[in-house]
Assembly symmetry: C2
Homo-oligomer: 348 residues x 2
């Protein structure tokens, strides 16, 4: 009645599958319902600018009555800068990346941001593609994993002007914000620890190092650490596939076949080490009496093994959270080294 003559249009609604959804409710609908201007509604909904208490009540009532859901697509286009952060991770198979995501989404949510994720499968070309794809959403920032990117990715990142945080590695130059720890130093520390405990014939079991650059840095650091202790790798087994419990188990089996006199095994990460541990259990190899085991990441599962796994705990969740907070806060370019912690455990 009060709108005079709009009835025809209102009746002209789309009626989809369940007779429920209709022409989407817009801010203008709310303004009409509350008998205020559009900008007033906008101000109230964002608690931004000034308006009277009475107006707020009217608007909120209208919102509730109509079941209005703001359209952030429109809001983002009209304002500048979205409340979106893109997150690029290499894999969802290894729990470390969900951990990173968890830290990031927790922090992001607090700041009122949302995350769009993309997975690269450790492929730099795919990384370039997904970065382009994420950039097309005009995110407020991007979280990527590692410091190694192909030139196309680097160019896009730089040219976009979007803030970038590179995570889980500090061994090299970053583009903008860097949050992580030194994988190289972690490898060195592991070698030093094993050498210090008296192990002399140390082998390495790793996964695909050409794709996982951080694992490659640990490997390099580990070799350096051994060398500093006057040792060399007594044998190694590298499998050209992603890390997994299975690869670790099979890898140790294969390595021991070639080098039966090893007294310690360093794994590219905890999943691999767990596989190695299972191999030892299955074959009656005494740990650490006959063979010591050392991992990387400090997963919960390692801590709960009958003998807690010797490993290095990395602050993954914290790295995600820190990066998210820095991006939201518009912090200047910086490097945040979160460090790592060596867990002595009982397997080495």
């Amino acid at each position: 009645m009060d709108e005079g003559g709009n009835e025809v249009f209102e009746a002209d609604r789309e009626v989809p599958r369940d007779g429920f959804a209709r022409r989407p409710i817009t801010l203008a609908d709310v303004a009409r319902e509350a008998r205020v201007g559009e900008s007033t509604v906008s101000r109230v909904l964002r608690s931004h600018g000034s308006f009277s208490e009475k107006t707020r009540a009217r608007v909120e009532e209208a919102v509730a009555r109509l079941g209005y859901v703001p359209n952030r697509i429109a809001g983002t286009l009209a304002s500048t800068g979205s409340r979106l952060i893109g997150i690029v991770i290499p894999s969802l198979t290894n729990i470390v990346f969900p951990d990173l995501l968890r830290g990031a989404t927790m922090a992001l949510e607090q700041e009122g941001f949302q995350s769009v994720i993309a997975v690269t499968d450790y492929d730099q070309d795919r990384e370039e593609a997904v970065v382009g794809s994420l950039l097309s959403w005009r995110p407020a920032g991007l979280i990527v994993t590692g410091l190694e990117h192909n030139s196309g990715t680097r160019r896009r990142l730089l040219a976009s002007g979007v803030r970038v945080a590179e995570l889980l590695d500090t061994d090299g130059p970053g583009l903008d914000i860097v949050v992580g720890y030194s994988n190289r130093a972690a490898g060195e520390a592991s070698a030093r620890h094993l050498a210090g405990r008296g192990y002399r014939r140390i082998g390495y079991i790793g996964h695909d190092l050409t794709k996982d650059r951080r694992a490659a840095k640990r490997y390099a650091g580990f070799r350096d650490g051994l060398r500093a202790a006057g040792l060399t790798l007594a044998g190694e087994e590298r499998v050209a596939s992603p890390s997994s419990v299975e690869v670790g188990r099979q890898g140790l089996f294969d390595l021991l076949a070639r080098a039966p006199d090893l007294d310690a095994a360093y794994f590219s990460n905890d999943d691999m080490a767990l596989g190695g541990y299972f191999h030892c259990l299955a074959h009656g190899i005494a740990v650490p009496g006959r063979l010591a085991l050392f991992g990387y990441n400090g997963l919960d599962v390692g801590r709960l093994m009958p003998q807690p796994l010797a490993t290095i705990r990395t602050p993954r969740v914290e790295a995600g959270a820190t990066a998210a907070r820095l991006l939201c806060a518009g912090a200047p370019a910086t490097v945040v080294d979160l460090g790592f912690e060596l867990i002595e455990g009982a397997t080495a």
Copy 2:
């Protein structure tokens, strides 16, 4: 030169932190550069509509020259329906949800969609909040976990008119698309299996069932299965916290303290069962001779234990992928039961 008089504006660019980004390149810039109309550029970029080969080349050249990145925010607002799918999962701590994500993002990427994720921590009120938040991006569809939602969530979902896929459970009525398997039947099958193998004093070790409704359904199914076999639960330990290896290990310890004569333990999932297995290893409890163990999910780690874990394998990745594909294809409301597979293993 050729634009006549625009120079002043062009010079008036923002110059951010590194002197790199500038006034963002828009489709209009590309059109001007390529000397074609805006709609032509739009058509070429989306390979939609007709245009000559010569025009395509001109446009692509201009795009490359300017480093243009389309603005999907604007594109989405102008067209109807985004290429976004919202994914709501309860947790990132348990690998099953990253698995689900993995399946979904893989399928989504093939279809040219992107995923926005949100985590509820198994809290229905948080679910309502994140669903609202995701809906404000006007996604083409939403993937949620489970069939249980509070009334607010249900109302928002229905009122939005957005397609919804509910995952990992088929025990109950769905809102739209349902992809999963019967948790209840899985529980029953587990009980039947244990009873069939001759176990009589069977205990249950579980995590917080009030929040994890699917675990609760397995528990109910398990009890029904026992009853059908003329048995009852010989003891149970339920911990009011999320599932983990630690809770499983501690839970079995506690349960055995109260019910030392159990001959089998059914765990709410594989993580929990792995913890139980570690307890048995640490305390010299023969598996399955003295105590049989049974899990749920069919994680890789269980398959690689010295004795493969008896469990039920669930098609998580496939569920994510199937849901994503159905949503993208605009399939009608349906229930897809992917089933599950009982793995005999060696622990029961």
